[in-house]
């Protein structure tokens, strides 16, 4: 479960080593001096303005506006890599992933995949507020038992790339599956939506493992519970936590943008 090492943005990050004293010290000293000169009411107003600015920034950040402002009009493809070990032979695991029609069974928000050619398939995903988005994918790499990669064809409304690599687990204990996903699609008001959250990729892999190892996806959906219950409080809190985690991840990824060379959506 490791983040893909992101290629560093040479030159743009100022080097910390070699500077005299911590870089945060001068602004802090200046700030303390400035604050000590201000009246209490002014200070309160400044603090309130600062808080409002922070909230505004969060909103802008969430909506993707910040990404767009920072990186211009083009998209910033961001990747997430997660791994899982599946207790089945490599060829069998590979065969499961080679069949793209298996994907809607375990991938978040993916509604259907239809094979349209030797290397091409049409994907339909659920979007926000009941919307649907369809696009064509092309297999760009396929080495038997080793790696498969897909990418959305040029001109698709969604930019999507997936790579899955297979390795034998140590000691012959199954197959390591390393999945890398990158996705960008227009969201609210045409602003960019972020990459798939790492948690979601992890869940996709978990469900794929359940399918391959047990033939089914583990569930409690539809079981009884006492009246007045079933408020799904836990799921609700979980949803909130997931969104926060995804936002944090996006913010972190933005600080070290990955591949920036790819096609526009």
């Amino acid at each position: 479960m490791t983040e893909q090492p992101q290629p560093s943005d040479n030159g743009t990050q100022p080097s910390v080593t070699g500077t005299r004293g911590p870089s945060w010290l001068p602004p802090v000293v200046a700030g303390v001096v400035a604050l000590s000169l201000l009246r209490w009411r002014t200070l309160r107003r400044l603090l309130a303005a600062g808080a409002a600015a922070a909230v505004a920034y969060r909103v802008a950040d969430q909506s993707g506006l910040v990404t767009r402002l920072r990186f211009g009009r083009g998209p910033t493809p961001l990747t997430v890599t997660r791994a899982v070990t599946i207790a089945r032979p490599r060829q069998e695991v590979y065969a499961f992933w080679r069949d793209v029609t298996n994907f809607p069974r375990f991938m978040h928000d993916l509604e259907s995949v239809e094979v349209t050619g030797e290397r091409t398939s049409r994907w339909v995903a659920r979007g926000p507020r009941g919307s649907r988005r369809a696009w064509d994918m092309e297999m760009t790499e396929n080495r038997l038992g080793e790696v498969i990669a897909w990418q959305s064809v040029a001109g698709s409304p969604v930019w999507f790339r997936g790579t899955v690599r297979f390795h034998d687990a140590p000691g012959g204990n199954g197959t390591e599956v390393h999945l890398t996903l990158a996705r960008l699609s227009p969201g609210t008001l045409g602003l960019l939506s972020g990459p798939p959250p790492a948690q979601q990729v992890q869940e996709d892999l978990r469900r794929a493992k359940q399918l391959i190892e047990t033939g089914n996806i583990t569930t409690t959906e539809g079981q009884p519970s006492g009246p007045g219950g079933g408020t799904h409080q836990v799921e609700r809190i979980a949803g909130i936590l997931r969104r926060i985690a995804a936002a944090v991840e996006r913010a972190r990824d933005r600080r070290s943008p990955g591949e920036t060379t790819t096609a526009s959506p």
């Binding site: 070990t85 207790a87 204990n173 199954g174 948690q199 992890q202 869940e203 978990r206 493992k209 359940q210 190892e213 047990t214 033939g215 089914n216 996806i217 583990t218 569930t219 409690t220 959906e221 539809g222 079981q223 009884p224 519970s225 006492g226 009246p227 007045g228 219950g229 079933g230 408020t231 799904h232 409080q233 836990v234 799921e235 979980a238 936590l241």
Partner: protein, 388 residues
């Protein structure tokens, strides 16, 4: 159907809920004949396990008759009388195949929650919070049993419910605790906590060849039951346990120590009060009062086995004592499936009759009162069996 539902701390109700249905082709539905309240259910009752929701059906010790099976179930058929292990295990993942059934990779649909807390998630359990899968439990008239081919064990009609019901949890849990204590002939084993798991650990320690078992508790009827199982007993309320154990072992200390108490330990003195205060303000989620004493009392190079449930974080953990004495610490939820067959054999040959543990027999409808009685340890309550 009727089911025992959790609605909050100290709020358990019997409600009418929909009957369970087959949700996966590997599920079975069991009509529950007997179900028990476990000491670990009291952690839910007392509100110490996170991830409970109003309306959740409780219970993870149950048995009954298979009434329906999914189309992929191969080993069970309607009419089979089965005991269901509390650990839900797929039987196909690496952990299940290595016999570490409670660590199943695939049986917790909310694995991400446990992952956030513990780094990785173990398997799911019946009626034990959404952290551990959110499965509806077995304190009900019917229960859905997922992965029906790698859980339930068929039991012969010649054995009564009360003789085999505890294969679902407390007997294997006590047995695994003793097994993990690596007992060798001639060993002296000390066991903290004389609840059901402690009682089975006492008897299992003797089955595994212990020379002597010393049991520690404060409740007279539990100490009496421990003595009936062959243990020498200490009441920690009127004895300095660590000193007494030294004295009883010629100054060496017990070779193996078992913590069958867990996260809601009671104790005496400032340390116990300190833990109560810290837990009350959530500076620690679990009270390690017993565990500290276990570590202090254990001989050099000894083994500590922990079947008692811990859920979160503890304070003032004496890692220095563990290190300096070269102790081995063994823990974990019971790999129940691994013990079903061997322990059913032990029961069938008469090596042990687990029904000794039952003190209260009640209909399912009386579960709320039974939780209270068990929690307060009133009326000599050690183990409650509910008949559905």
């Amino acid at each position: 159907m009727k089911a025992v539902c959790w609605y909050g701390t100290h709020d358990v109700r019997v409600e009418t809920v929909p009957d369970p249905a087959i949700l996966n082709p590997q599920d079975a539905i069991v009509r529950v004949s007997s179900t028990a309240i476990c000491g670990s259910d009291l952690h839910l009752f007392d509100g110490y396990i996170p991830g409970m929701e109003a309306g959740d059906i409780l219970g993870h010790e149950f048995m009954g008759e298979v009434v329906e099976v999914g189309r992929e179930v191969k080993t069970l058929k309607p009419g089979d009388r089965v005991v269901v292990p509390f650990t839900i295990s797929c039987g196909r993942c690496d952990y299940c195949r290595r016999g570490l059934w409670s660590l199943c990779d695939n049986s917790n649909p909310n694995a991400w929650m446990a992952e956030a807390l513990y780094g990785f998630s173990g398997g799911g359990y019946y009626g034990y919070s959404h952290l551990f899968g959110g499965y509806a439990g077995g304190q009900a008239e019917y229960a859905r049993v997922p992965f029906a081919d790698s859980g339930p064990i068929a039991v012969p009609d010649g054995l009564s419910d009360e003789q085999v019901l505890f294969l679902s949890d407390v007997f294997p849990t006590g047995y695994m605790a003793a097994e993990q204590a690596e007992i060798k002939p001639g060993d002296v084993v000390a066991i903290w906590g004389c609840g059901p798991v402690g009682q089975f650990a006492i008897r299992s320690a003797y089955l595994l060849g212990a020379d002597e078992v010393i049991a520690i508790d404060r409740i007279p009827e539990r100490l009496r039951m421990a003595e009936a199982g062959g243990a020498r007993t200490l009441n920690y309320q009127d004895t300095d346990v660590v000193e007494a154990l030294k004295e009883l072992t010629g100054g060496r200390g017990p070779d193996a120590c078992i913590d069958a108490v867990g996260m809601e330990a009671h104790g005496v003195g400032p340390a116990a009060w300190f833990d109560r205060a810290e837990q009350a303000v959530r500076l620690e989620t679990d009270r390690p009062t017993a565990l500290r004493q276990v570590i202090q009392a254990c001989r050099k190079g000894g083994v500590i086995s922990v079947p008692g449930v811990y859920g979160g974080f503890i304070d003032k953990f004496p890692i220095g004592a563990i290190f300096s004495k070269g102790l081995t610490l063994r823990t974990g939820q019971t790999h129940v499936q691994a013990y079903l067959r061997p322990l059913l054999e032990r029961i069938a040959n008469g090596d042990i009759d687990p029904s000794f543990i039952v003190t209260h027999r009640l209909p399912l409808e009386e579960a709320p009162g039974a939780y209270h009685t068990f929690q307060q340890k009133e009326d000599g309550c050690i183990k409650v069996v509910l008949s559905a």
